[in-house]
Protein backbone atom coordinates (compact mmCIF):
# COMPACT_ATOMS: atom_id res chain seq x y z
CA UNK A 1 0.00 0.00 0.00
CA UNK A 2 1.39 3.38 -0.97
CA UNK A 3 0.75 6.55 0.93
CA UNK A 4 2.35 9.67 -0.53
CA UNK A 5 5.19 11.16 1.47
CA UNK A 6 4.19 14.41 3.09
CA UNK A 7 5.89 17.75 2.51
CA UNK A 8 4.91 19.71 5.58
CA UNK A 9 3.20 18.08 8.51
CA UNK A 10 3.37 15.49 11.25
CA UNK A 11 3.88 11.74 11.24
CA UNK A 12 2.79 10.00 14.41
CA UNK A 13 4.51 6.64 14.39
CA UNK A 14 4.72 3.58 16.63
CA UNK A 15 1.11 3.82 17.75
CA UNK A 16 0.04 0.52 19.28
CA UNK A 17 -1.94 -1.42 16.67
CA UNK A 18 -5.63 -0.70 17.16
CA UNK A 19 -5.16 2.65 18.92
CA UNK A 20 -4.84 4.74 15.75
CA UNK A 21 -8.54 5.44 15.24
CA UNK A 22 -9.00 6.51 18.86
CA UNK A 23 -6.05 8.88 18.56
CA UNK A 24 -7.45 10.20 15.29
CA UNK A 25 -10.57 11.28 17.16
CA UNK A 26 -8.73 12.43 20.30
CA UNK A 27 -6.62 14.81 18.23
CA UNK A 28 -9.70 16.07 16.39
CA UNK A 29 -8.24 15.10 13.01
CA UNK A 30 -11.70 14.50 11.57
CA UNK A 31 -12.16 18.28 11.63
CA UNK A 32 -9.15 19.02 9.39
CA UNK A 33 -9.42 19.98 5.71
CA UNK A 34 -5.93 18.77 4.79
CA UNK A 35 -5.16 15.20 3.82
CA UNK A 36 -4.83 12.84 6.75
CA UNK A 37 -3.82 9.20 6.49
CA UNK A 38 -4.50 6.58 9.11
CA UNK A 39 -2.57 3.41 8.47
CA UNK A 40 -3.63 0.42 10.53
CA UNK A 41 -1.63 -2.72 11.23
CA UNK A 42 1.49 -1.60 9.38
CA UNK A 43 4.32 -4.13 9.77
CA UNK A 44 6.88 -3.11 12.41
CA UNK A 45 10.19 -4.77 13.29
CA UNK A 46 9.95 -3.49 16.86
CA UNK A 47 6.24 -3.93 17.52
CA UNK A 48 5.11 -6.59 15.05
CA UNK A 49 2.18 -4.41 14.01
CA UNK A 50 1.62 -0.70 14.52
CA UNK A 51 -0.64 2.16 13.49
CA UNK A 52 0.61 5.36 11.86
CA UNK A 53 -1.05 8.73 11.35
CA UNK A 54 0.17 11.21 8.73
CA UNK A 55 -1.13 14.78 8.70
CA UNK A 56 -0.20 16.75 5.59
CA UNK A 57 -0.23 20.27 7.01
CA UNK A 58 2.05 22.27 9.33
CA UNK A 59 -0.46 22.52 12.16
CA UNK A 60 0.09 23.23 15.81
CA UNK A 61 -1.76 20.20 17.15
CA UNK A 62 -2.29 19.75 20.87
CA UNK A 63 -0.22 16.62 21.34
CA UNK A 64 -0.46 16.44 25.16
CA UNK A 65 -2.75 13.45 24.97
CA UNK A 66 -0.07 11.39 23.19
CA UNK A 67 2.13 11.38 26.28
CA UNK A 68 -0.79 10.31 28.43
CA UNK A 69 -1.82 7.48 26.11
CA UNK A 70 1.61 6.13 25.30
CA UNK A 71 4.90 8.00 25.68
CA UNK A 72 6.57 5.41 23.42
CA UNK A 73 4.79 6.89 20.40
CA UNK A 74 7.16 8.70 18.01
CA UNK A 75 6.31 12.14 16.62
CA UNK A 76 8.11 13.28 13.45
CA UNK A 77 7.84 16.89 12.29
CA UNK A 78 8.29 17.26 8.53
CA UNK A 79 9.21 20.52 6.81
CA UNK A 80 9.92 20.85 3.06
CA UNK A 81 9.93 17.10 2.73
CA UNK A 82 12.59 16.61 5.41
CA UNK A 83 12.24 15.40 8.98
CA UNK A 84 13.35 18.32 11.16
CA UNK A 85 12.38 16.93 14.54
CA UNK A 86 11.73 13.53 16.08
CA UNK A 87 10.64 13.03 19.66
CA UNK A 88 8.69 10.91 22.09
CA UNK A 89 5.87 12.90 23.69
CA UNK A 90 6.51 13.81 27.32
CA UNK A 91 4.12 12.92 30.09
CA UNK A 92 2.12 16.14 30.49
CA UNK A 93 1.97 17.46 34.06
CA UNK A 94 -1.69 18.24 33.55
CA UNK A 95 -4.30 17.15 31.02
CA UNK A 96 -7.33 19.32 30.46
CA UNK A 97 -10.62 18.24 28.88
CA UNK A 98 -9.09 15.10 27.37
CA UNK A 99 -10.49 12.50 29.74
CA UNK A 100 -13.41 12.59 32.14
CA UNK A 101 -13.57 11.30 35.69
CA UNK A 102 -15.60 8.11 36.01
CA UNK A 103 -16.09 8.33 39.78
CA UNK A 104 -19.88 8.69 40.15
CA UNK A 105 -19.30 10.60 43.39
CA UNK A 106 -17.15 13.28 41.71
CA UNK A 107 -18.61 16.77 41.17
CA UNK A 108 -17.22 16.74 37.62
CA UNK A 109 -19.79 14.10 36.64
CA UNK A 110 -22.74 16.41 37.38
CA UNK A 111 -21.55 20.04 37.24
CA UNK A 112 -22.33 21.47 33.76
CA UNK A 113 -19.49 23.24 31.97
CA UNK A 114 -16.80 22.01 34.36
CA UNK A 115 -13.19 21.81 33.15
CA UNK A 116 -11.99 18.21 33.43
CA UNK A 117 -8.44 18.38 34.80
CA UNK A 118 -6.13 15.53 35.73
CA UNK A 119 -2.69 15.97 37.28
CA UNK A 120 0.32 13.70 37.02
CA UNK A 121 0.87 12.42 40.57
CA UNK A 122 3.33 9.58 39.90
CA UNK A 123 5.62 9.99 36.90
CA UNK A 124 7.21 6.56 37.28
CA UNK A 125 3.90 4.70 37.26
CA UNK A 126 2.28 7.24 34.88
CA UNK A 127 -0.59 7.89 37.27
CA UNK A 128 -2.96 10.79 36.72
CA UNK A 129 -5.60 11.81 39.24
CA UNK A 130 -8.71 13.95 38.95
CA UNK A 131 -8.06 17.27 40.72
CA UNK A 132 -11.55 17.24 42.22
CA UNK A 133 -11.83 13.75 43.73
CA UNK A 134 -8.30 12.29 43.27
CA UNK A 135 -9.60 9.22 41.46
CA UNK A 136 -7.08 7.53 39.23
CA UNK A 137 -7.50 8.13 35.49
CA UNK A 138 -7.55 5.35 32.97
CA UNK A 139 -6.84 5.97 29.30
CA UNK A 140 -10.16 4.29 28.51
CA UNK A 141 -11.90 7.16 30.38
CA UNK A 142 -11.67 9.19 27.19
Amino acid sequence: MNIDAITDGIVIDHIKAGQGMELYHDLGLENLDCSVALIKNAPSKKMGKKDIIKVNAALDLNLQILGFIDPDITVNIIRNGTRVEKFHPELPLEITNVIKCRNPRCISTVEPGITHIFKLTDKEKRIYRCIYCESKAKSKDR
Binding site: N103, R105, C106, I107, S108, T109, V110, E111, P112, G113, I114, T121, D122, R129, C130, I131, Y132, C133, E134, K136
Partner: protein, 304 residues
Protein backbone atom coordinates in the same frame (compact mmCIF):
# COMPACT_ATOMS: atom_id res chain seq x y z
CA UNK B 1 -6.96 35.14 49.30
CA UNK B 2 -6.67 31.66 50.78
CA UNK B 3 -9.13 28.77 50.72
CA UNK B 4 -9.09 25.56 52.74
CA UNK B 5 -10.07 22.67 50.48
CA UNK B 6 -7.60 20.01 51.55
CA UNK B 7 -5.76 19.78 54.87
CA UNK B 8 -2.52 19.84 52.86
CA UNK B 9 -3.35 23.43 51.82
CA UNK B 10 -1.97 24.26 55.27
CA UNK B 11 1.66 23.72 56.23
CA UNK B 12 2.42 22.00 59.54
CA UNK B 13 3.61 25.41 60.81
CA UNK B 14 0.24 26.93 59.92
CA UNK B 15 -1.58 24.05 61.60
CA UNK B 16 0.52 24.52 64.72
CA UNK B 17 -0.30 28.25 64.67
CA UNK B 18 -4.03 27.48 64.37
CA UNK B 19 -3.81 25.05 67.29
CA UNK B 20 -2.00 27.66 69.42
CA UNK B 21 -4.56 30.28 68.43
CA UNK B 22 -7.43 27.95 69.34
CA UNK B 23 -5.81 27.27 72.72
CA UNK B 24 -5.54 31.04 73.26
CA UNK B 25 -9.20 31.50 72.32
CA UNK B 26 -10.17 28.79 74.84
CA UNK B 27 -8.11 30.58 77.52
CA UNK B 28 -9.21 34.14 76.66
CA UNK B 29 -12.57 34.04 74.83
CA UNK B 30 -13.41 37.66 75.67
CA UNK B 31 -10.39 38.91 73.76
CA UNK B 32 -11.88 37.53 70.55
CA UNK B 33 -15.54 38.43 70.98
CA UNK B 34 -15.50 41.39 68.56
CA UNK B 35 -12.76 40.33 66.15
CA UNK B 36 -15.19 39.69 63.28
CA UNK B 37 -17.72 42.40 64.02
CA UNK B 38 -19.57 43.21 60.77
CA UNK B 39 -18.43 39.99 59.04
CA UNK B 40 -20.71 37.21 57.80
CA UNK B 41 -20.17 33.52 57.15
CA UNK B 42 -22.36 31.68 54.62
CA UNK B 43 -22.84 28.02 55.53
CA UNK B 44 -23.86 26.27 52.30
CA UNK B 45 -24.80 22.77 53.40
CA UNK B 46 -26.15 20.50 50.66
CA UNK B 47 -26.06 17.60 53.13
CA UNK B 48 -27.36 17.34 56.69
CA UNK B 49 -24.99 18.21 59.52
CA UNK B 50 -25.28 19.10 63.18
CA UNK B 51 -21.80 19.69 64.54
CA UNK B 52 -20.05 21.13 61.53
CA UNK B 53 -22.67 23.66 60.47
CA UNK B 54 -23.57 24.77 63.99
CA UNK B 55 -19.93 24.99 65.04
CA UNK B 56 -19.12 27.19 62.03
CA UNK B 57 -22.05 29.44 62.82
CA UNK B 58 -21.27 29.49 66.56
CA UNK B 59 -17.60 30.20 65.75
CA UNK B 60 -18.50 33.26 63.69
CA UNK B 61 -21.02 34.48 66.26
CA UNK B 62 -18.50 34.15 69.10
CA UNK B 63 -16.14 36.29 67.02
CA UNK B 64 -18.82 38.98 66.85
CA UNK B 65 -19.96 38.17 63.30
CA UNK B 66 -23.14 36.77 61.81
CA UNK B 67 -24.13 33.63 59.89
CA UNK B 68 -26.49 32.92 57.01
CA UNK B 69 -26.99 29.96 54.71
CA UNK B 70 -28.99 26.82 54.04
CA UNK B 71 -28.92 23.39 55.63
CA UNK B 72 -30.03 21.14 52.78
CA UNK B 73 -29.96 21.18 48.99
CA UNK B 74 -33.75 21.21 48.89
CA UNK B 75 -33.73 24.62 50.62
CA UNK B 76 -31.46 26.16 47.98
CA UNK B 77 -31.48 26.90 44.26
CA UNK B 78 -29.60 23.64 43.78
CA UNK B 79 -33.07 22.09 43.75
CA UNK B 80 -33.73 24.20 40.63
CA UNK B 81 -30.53 22.99 39.02
CA UNK B 82 -28.18 25.85 39.91
CA UNK B 83 -24.54 24.90 39.58
CA UNK B 84 -22.03 25.02 42.40
CA UNK B 85 -20.05 27.58 40.39
CA UNK B 86 -23.02 29.95 40.10
CA UNK B 87 -23.96 29.55 43.75
CA UNK B 88 -20.39 30.42 44.77
CA UNK B 89 -20.37 33.52 42.55
CA UNK B 90 -23.68 34.73 43.97
CA UNK B 91 -23.03 34.04 47.64
CA UNK B 92 -19.70 35.89 47.35
CA UNK B 93 -21.82 39.04 47.17
CA UNK B 94 -23.55 38.31 50.46
CA UNK B 95 -20.88 36.93 52.77
CA UNK B 96 -17.21 37.41 53.66
CA UNK B 97 -16.41 33.71 53.85
CA UNK B 98 -18.11 30.47 52.75
CA UNK B 99 -18.22 27.06 54.44
CA UNK B 100 -19.54 24.42 52.03
CA UNK B 101 -20.61 20.83 52.57
CA UNK B 102 -21.62 18.87 49.49
CA UNK B 103 -22.24 15.18 48.76
CA UNK B 104 -20.11 15.31 45.60
CA UNK B 105 -16.36 15.04 45.93
CA UNK B 106 -14.56 18.20 44.82
CA UNK B 107 -17.59 20.53 45.00
CA UNK B 108 -15.92 23.00 47.41
CA UNK B 109 -12.91 23.10 45.08
CA UNK B 110 -15.20 24.10 42.24
CA UNK B 111 -16.73 26.78 44.51
CA UNK B 112 -13.25 28.10 45.34
CA UNK B 113 -12.52 28.55 41.62
CA UNK B 114 -15.45 30.95 41.25
CA UNK B 115 -15.95 32.59 44.67
CA UNK B 116 -14.59 36.05 45.43
CA UNK B 117 -14.27 35.19 49.14
CA UNK B 118 -12.43 32.38 50.98
CA UNK B 119 -14.08 28.95 50.72
CA UNK B 120 -13.75 26.31 53.43
CA UNK B 121 -14.44 22.67 52.60
CA UNK B 122 -16.85 21.53 55.31
CA UNK B 123 -16.91 17.98 53.91
CA UNK B 124 -17.14 16.80 50.29
CA UNK B 125 -18.71 13.37 50.01
CA UNK B 126 -16.37 10.64 51.17
CA UNK B 127 -13.35 12.66 50.16
CA UNK B 128 -12.02 15.30 52.58
CA UNK B 129 -13.08 17.12 55.70
CA UNK B 130 -10.18 19.38 56.65
CA UNK B 131 -11.85 21.29 59.51
CA UNK B 132 -12.71 18.01 61.20
CA UNK B 133 -9.03 17.18 60.86
CA UNK B 134 -8.08 20.45 62.51
CA UNK B 135 -10.57 19.58 65.27
CA UNK B 136 -9.01 16.13 65.63
CA UNK B 137 -5.48 17.53 65.72
CA UNK B 138 -6.45 20.11 68.36
CA UNK B 139 -8.04 17.34 70.42
CA UNK B 140 -5.02 15.06 70.14
CA UNK B 141 -2.74 17.99 71.03
CA UNK B 142 -4.82 18.95 74.06
CA UNK B 143 -5.06 15.34 75.25
CA UNK B 144 -1.51 14.21 74.52
CA UNK B 145 0.46 17.46 74.51
CA UNK B 146 2.03 16.52 71.17
CA UNK B 147 1.29 15.50 67.59
CA UNK B 148 4.35 13.32 67.07
CA UNK B 149 5.56 9.99 68.50
CA UNK B 150 2.09 8.48 68.51
CA UNK B 151 0.49 5.16 67.56
CA UNK B 152 -2.96 5.91 66.18
CA UNK B 153 -5.61 3.33 65.33
CA UNK B 154 -8.33 4.11 62.80
CA UNK B 155 -11.30 1.76 63.10
CA UNK B 156 -14.42 1.19 61.01
CA UNK B 157 -15.17 2.71 57.63
CA UNK B 158 -11.79 3.73 56.30
CA UNK B 159 -12.96 3.69 52.68
CA UNK B 160 -15.61 6.40 52.75
CA UNK B 161 -14.52 7.98 56.03
CA UNK B 162 -13.36 11.39 54.82
CA UNK B 163 -12.28 12.40 58.33
CA UNK B 164 -9.92 9.44 58.36
CA UNK B 165 -8.42 10.36 54.99
CA UNK B 166 -7.73 13.96 55.95
CA UNK B 167 -6.34 13.08 59.40
CA UNK B 168 -3.94 10.49 57.95
CA UNK B 169 -2.66 13.04 55.40
CA UNK B 170 -2.09 15.54 58.21
CA UNK B 171 -0.46 13.12 60.67
CA UNK B 172 1.87 11.74 58.00
CA UNK B 173 3.81 15.01 58.18
CA UNK B 174 4.71 14.57 61.87
CA UNK B 175 7.62 12.55 63.24
CA UNK B 176 7.37 8.94 64.39
CA UNK B 177 3.73 8.33 63.61
CA UNK B 178 2.56 4.71 63.49
CA UNK B 179 -0.82 3.98 61.98
CA UNK B 180 -3.01 0.93 62.57
CA UNK B 181 -5.81 0.56 60.03
CA UNK B 182 -8.66 -1.57 61.40
CA UNK B 183 -11.51 -2.32 58.99
CA UNK B 184 -13.34 -5.07 57.16
CA UNK B 185 -11.93 -5.86 53.71
CA UNK B 186 -14.71 -3.97 51.95
CA UNK B 187 -14.03 -0.73 53.83
CA UNK B 188 -10.23 -0.59 53.68
CA UNK B 189 -8.36 2.67 53.22
CA UNK B 190 -8.27 3.67 49.50
CA UNK B 191 -5.21 2.56 47.63
CA UNK B 192 -4.20 6.11 46.66
CA UNK B 193 -3.75 7.12 50.31
CA UNK B 194 -1.71 4.01 51.07
CA UNK B 195 0.45 4.49 47.98
CA UNK B 196 0.82 8.27 47.85
CA UNK B 197 0.95 8.99 51.58
CA UNK B 198 1.84 6.03 53.78
CA UNK B 199 4.26 4.25 51.46
CA UNK B 200 5.58 7.40 49.77
CA UNK B 201 6.36 9.02 53.13
CA UNK B 202 7.63 5.81 54.69
CA UNK B 203 5.02 5.85 57.45
CA UNK B 204 4.84 2.70 59.52
CA UNK B 205 1.38 1.17 59.08
CA UNK B 206 -0.45 -2.09 59.45
CA UNK B 207 -3.82 -3.23 58.09
CA UNK B 208 -5.93 -5.59 60.18
CA UNK B 209 -9.53 -6.64 60.66
CA UNK B 210 -9.00 -7.29 64.39
CA UNK B 211 -9.52 -4.33 66.73
CA UNK B 212 -8.59 -6.20 69.90
CA UNK B 213 -5.25 -7.42 68.54
CA UNK B 214 -3.76 -3.93 68.32
CA UNK B 215 -5.79 -2.08 70.98
CA UNK B 216 -3.12 -2.41 73.72
CA UNK B 217 -0.56 -0.61 71.53
CA UNK B 218 -2.63 2.47 70.75
CA UNK B 219 -2.16 6.02 72.09
CA UNK B 220 -5.20 7.22 70.16
CA UNK B 221 -8.17 5.21 68.85
CA UNK B 222 -10.16 6.99 66.15
CA UNK B 223 -13.52 5.26 65.77
CA UNK B 224 -15.79 5.91 62.77
CA UNK B 225 -19.36 5.22 61.80
CA UNK B 226 -20.19 2.99 58.82
CA UNK B 227 -21.98 5.62 56.76
CA UNK B 228 -25.24 4.41 55.26
CA UNK B 229 -25.40 7.40 52.90
CA UNK B 230 -22.20 6.32 51.10
CA UNK B 231 -23.54 2.92 50.03
CA UNK B 232 -25.28 2.37 46.72
CA UNK B 233 -26.36 -1.06 47.94
CA UNK B 234 -28.41 -1.33 51.15
CA UNK B 235 -27.48 -4.98 51.62
CA UNK B 236 -23.77 -4.12 51.80
CA UNK B 237 -24.48 -1.51 54.47
CA UNK B 238 -26.49 -3.93 56.61
CA UNK B 239 -23.77 -6.57 56.35
CA UNK B 240 -21.01 -4.19 57.42
CA UNK B 241 -22.63 -1.76 59.83
CA UNK B 242 -21.93 -3.73 63.00
CA UNK B 243 -18.35 -4.70 62.14
CA UNK B 244 -16.87 -3.00 65.21
CA UNK B 245 -18.49 -2.10 68.50
CA UNK B 246 -16.25 -0.67 71.19
CA UNK B 247 -17.42 -1.57 74.70
CA UNK B 248 -16.05 -0.90 78.16
CA UNK B 249 -15.07 -4.58 78.45
CA UNK B 250 -12.94 -4.42 75.31
CA UNK B 251 -11.09 -1.42 76.71
CA UNK B 252 -9.70 -3.55 79.56
CA UNK B 253 -6.54 -4.25 77.58
CA UNK B 254 -6.06 -0.67 76.33
CA UNK B 255 -3.55 1.81 77.73
CA UNK B 256 -4.73 3.82 80.72
CA UNK B 257 -4.00 7.07 78.85
CA UNK B 258 -5.61 6.01 75.56
CA UNK B 259 -7.63 8.81 73.92
CA UNK B 260 -10.79 7.65 72.13
CA UNK B 261 -11.90 10.01 69.38
CA UNK B 262 -14.91 9.88 67.08
CA UNK B 263 -15.97 12.55 64.59
CA UNK B 264 -19.62 11.83 65.52
CA UNK B 265 -22.43 11.17 64.97
CA UNK B 266 -22.10 7.65 66.29
CA UNK B 267 -24.65 4.95 65.81
CA UNK B 268 -23.64 1.92 67.87
CA UNK B 269 -19.89 1.61 67.23
CA UNK B 270 -19.14 3.04 70.67
CA UNK B 271 -21.37 1.62 73.38
CA UNK B 272 -22.82 4.23 75.73
CA UNK B 273 -21.07 2.59 78.67
CA UNK B 274 -17.79 3.95 77.26
CA UNK B 275 -19.00 7.56 77.59
CA UNK B 276 -18.13 7.73 81.29
CA UNK B 277 -14.67 6.25 80.78
CA UNK B 278 -12.04 8.97 81.25
CA UNK B 279 -10.44 7.84 77.98
CA UNK B 280 -13.52 8.92 75.99
CA UNK B 281 -12.71 12.28 74.36
CA UNK B 282 -15.35 12.52 71.63
CA UNK B 283 -17.62 15.03 73.30
CA UNK B 284 -14.68 17.29 74.17
CA UNK B 285 -13.57 16.81 70.57
CA UNK B 286 -16.92 18.15 69.29
CA UNK B 287 -16.46 21.21 71.50
CA UNK B 288 -12.95 21.78 70.19
CA UNK B 289 -14.43 22.07 66.69
CA UNK B 290 -15.82 25.51 67.45
CA UNK B 291 -12.52 26.89 68.71
CA UNK B 292 -10.40 25.65 65.84
CA UNK B 293 -12.96 27.02 63.35
CA UNK B 294 -12.75 30.39 65.12
CA UNK B 295 -8.98 30.30 64.63
CA UNK B 296 -9.42 29.31 60.97
CA UNK B 297 -11.95 32.05 60.23
CA UNK B 298 -9.56 34.62 61.73
CA UNK B 299 -6.73 33.32 59.59
CA UNK B 300 -8.64 33.20 56.29
CA UNK B 301 -10.17 36.64 56.89
CA UNK B 302 -6.70 37.90 57.81
CA UNK B 303 -7.96 39.29 61.10
CA UNK B 304 -5.19 39.78 63.66
Amino acid sequence: MRHLIDILDLSTEEIDELIQKACDIIAHPDAYSEKCHGKKIATLFYEPSTRTRLSFEAAMMELGGKALGFSSASNSSASKGETVADTARIVSNYADIIAMRHPKEGAPMVASMYAKVPVINAGDGGHNHPTQTLTDLLTIYREKGRLDHLTIGFCGDLKFGRTVHSLILALARYTDIRIVLISPDELKLPDYIIQDTLIAKNISYVETADLEEYLPELDVLYMTRVQQERFFNEADYIRLKDSYILTRDKLATAKSDLSILHPLPRVNEIAVDVDDDPRACYFTQAGNGKYIRMALILKLLEVE
